[in-house]
Amino acid sequence: MEQEHLKKLIAEKLGEAVQSMEEMKNNDLMIVLDSKRLVTSMGTLKNDPALGFSTLMNQLGVDYGDRFAVIYNLYSSVLRKKITVKVHLDREQPEIASLERAFPGISWFERETYDLLGIRFSGHSNMKRLLLPDDWEGYPLRKDYVYPSSYNGIDTSRKDMLDDADSEDTARV
């Protein structure tokens, strides 16, 4: 009942920026937005008095293999509802506008997404790696990531004591 009302409200306010809408298993609404109209749509979701999705709960990136997606979880204290906003991105050049202006707290979330998936956020004030060293190569959470065997001369593999079963020490174990 309320869900229908919310669907109608969002379709009315956001118009054609919404590509699809579906209800997820936890009864929350998920909407897929057009990546070009993300900033204005999120601005509407946040600032419209009838919607009031002013709390950014989480932001994350997903690698589906053939494409990327960025997901934003919002909460409205006006409607007391959660909403999931999803944007699909191109696999080759994953880039999307930063939401730093609307939600200043998103800064580190976007840096983490860039760090682990290589999705660039244009307009971000400090688009650097967050968790990994600055000179790290590749993006570890991508599906096609190949883990390097060494980093700056540090071996990244662990020696398995059972591998060299020839030596006497391990034979006893």
């Binding site: 540090i154 990244t156 593999s157 662990r158």
Partner: protein
Amino acid sequence: MLERFNIVNRLPADAEPILTTIDQAVNLARANSLWYLLMGLACCSIELMQTGGPRADIDRFGSLFRATPRQSDLMIVAGTVTFKMAPRLRRLYEQMAEPRYVIAMGSCANCGGPFDLSYNVVRGVDKILPVDVYLPGCPPRPEALTEALMKVQEKIKKERYFLKKEA
């Protein structure tokens, strides 16, 4: 005159001379003043704090924490070392004055622990530093860390610190 103010050696036997070597005397002093660097990187540092606390109390071995590497003799690597932390850890180790010792505390510092499949954890601190004592456990109890400290003390007491280097 001096005997009047001597409040330590009150028994006549205490005033007798003791024969020892310089090595042994210096090693006794070094082993019982192991100041350790606060190197808490993860949950092991909670056990490290407990070991410094009143119950395990490694103060009685002359060990107390220092917040700077320049005053430390011992580095207790307590926790998970990431690749981002690795050069900083190496730098702190190099800032310590010699002779310096390292305890790898917990599974993470020994071999990477449960983070074997992670992309950013160093598989054992011995890939970047020389380690004297490996302490297993996840995390080790304060008693275990006390034992590791005693192992370092044993090692120090066996060293020939004043041995001349042969050319």
